[in-house]
Symmetry: C2
DNA sequence: TTGTATGCGTTATCAT
DNA sequence: ATGATAACGCATACAA
């Protein structure tokens, strides 16, 4: 392992000068700085994160905590995790993954996902920099990053209206979580804005439930109806129920939400609201590192994107 | 932060004695050991991984490298990653995730997945302990862990035969990877063993392709046929193509492979070969840690499990 | 069986 | 502007 001493020897300066060139280059004269930089390249020096961590009393470890059952959201997490890991590694941090909330002293910061309202009390008691993935109630002072769920369903609803579907209904989820309410609100608001009558249904977030719901209400569902779904999973069930009559997208238009994996395996392919996971990952990480360095708390909503495919009419 | 010195003071012994109690308890007298252990609890000591890493010239970081396009296998990876992370954390290691092959000096070991044959040359040149996820050719001396793919399709084929399907065909993948060949072999062998005529087709690993294939060959496909699919994705397309006539499982039986996520969202629910991801994760990790400590190379195949659901007849 | 001295690679502090 | 020294927490080698 090549260390500071090796570089120092090569450049005929002291260890400290090398350390300064790396951490406080403006405190070093131009000539010496160039000399040292050359030496660093020549010997192939790579800073030792462990030694740095020891002296700085930091660990350069961020823990990603998944509190919900993975099975419910698998594809999303794979993407998000990989994005976060990449961003973190770039900044010299390591990502640790955990499924329980019990922060060890060796983590510098927490990214928490899949939490329920009942977790927030416990979370706000923990004295480690953290950022939540998912919109949290404001009365806890916990910074969060999320996609703008309300805007998402609003985009979906607008798209269906503009595509000429006469009636537009919403199929939501039976979960008391902020993002669930937000998605519903996005639909309701947009319908109100267009002076249209809204109609919502609730199912569990499983394709088979959504499929059954549609089979039950199909008799009362006029042709030329648009269906905004709270998730791609629900949309999958809806599409399956309607496909038998191959009435998509002529008689029924379907829009999902998430845009990960499921949207690609439906038939017809799903028009959906895509969560920008790369951007979410970037924002989560920079948010957290900002807290570590400058200790500012900040909450952010990221804009989603409508992806038009075959389950809705081309406008 | 409470350290060895704090414990030592509490127990009225030296730092070294405390260190010994932790690392070599048999070198310490019983009384002193008990005393120190009490002190450890009393002051709430937690070993500092960073300091340990520095002195041991280890980093306690394992890198998980995903070389293939994530989009093709998302759900599987989410599960595998979380399992690996959990096992690793238990053993005091941290998991780092990367999508490129360029091991930094700060990683102690590599778990490599999604590699192609063309990567193996480069991999075997890297001088860091590693284990591959996925069966590799034996002429590279790289240890790997994989599910027993051959046994998997064999289980699937046997199940269909025993369920009374007269003809059993196989839909495989157009990829030149060992595991692809293994899965096909499992089918072919089992058919031969039962003195049955085998018939294989190939498609890309996309549900839409599989769906088209079935639509094209359905005319020549006699009733009472069993279909072994190389993946759940393919099975999903097959089920979709056959569902219009709702002939599953009476006239056609379908078995998939993987058992992650997709199998739950098909309709009817998929009979499939389940990859034991928890066991795979455990084996991958213990394999790697064995290399780190005792430097033995070992390759292992894990047994998969047949999960009978609604896409095949109950025997 | 227990304790002392030393060093891992880095950086902050203080001195020059 | 540059360098010498000490310190972070732990474990190995050696001494007692």
């Amino acid at each position: 392992m090549v260390n500071l001493a090796d570089v120092a020897r090569q450049a005929h300066v002291s260890q400290m000068t090398v350390s300064r060139v790396i951490n406080h280059p403006n405190l070093v004269s131009d000539e010496v700085r160039d000399l040292v930089n050359q030496a660093i390249k020549a010997v192939g020096y790579q800073p030792n994160r462990i030694a740095k961590a020891l002296v700085n009393q930091q660990n350069y470890v961020i823990q990603f905590i998944v509190l919900e059952d993975i099975a419910t959201v698998e594809p999303n997490y794979a993407i998000l995790l990989l994005e976060i890991a990449e961003v973190l590694n770039q900044k010299g941090y390591t990502l640790e993954i955990s499924t329980i909330l019990e922060p060890n002293s060796h983590v510098d910061g927490l990214i928490v996902s899949g939490w329920r309202d009942s977790d927030l009390e416990r979370l706000s008691a923990i004295n480690v920099p953290m950022v939540l993935y998912g919109q949290a109630p404001t009365w806890y002072d916990l910074p969060y990053v999320d996609v703008n769920n309300r805007m998402g369903t609003s985009l979906a609803t607008t798209h269906l209206i503009e595509a000429g579907y006469k009636k537009v209904i919403y199929i939501g989820m039976t979960m008391a979580l902020p993002f669930v309410r937000e998605r519903e609100q996005g639909y309701l608001e947009t319908m109100a804005k267009h002076h249209l009558v809204s109609r919502t249904y609730d199912v569990s977030n499983h394709s088979h439930d959504a499929e059954k719901l549609i089979q039950n209400i199909i008799a009362h569902l006029p042709k030329n109806t648009g269906i905004v779904c709270a998730t791609d999973r629900i949309a999958l069930g809806v599409v399956r129920a309607l496909k038998a009559q191959s009435q998509i997208p002529e008689n029924y238009g379907v829009v999902g939400f998430d845009g990960v994996f499921i949207d690609q395996i439906t038939s017809p392919k799903l028009t959906t609201i895509k969560q920008p996971f790369r951007q979410l990952a970037n924002t989560l990480v920079s948010n957290l590192l900002n807290q570590l360095h400058h200790s500012e708390l900040k909450t952010e909503l990221i804009q989603p994107r409508l992806v038009k495919r075959d389950s809705t009419r081309q406008v």
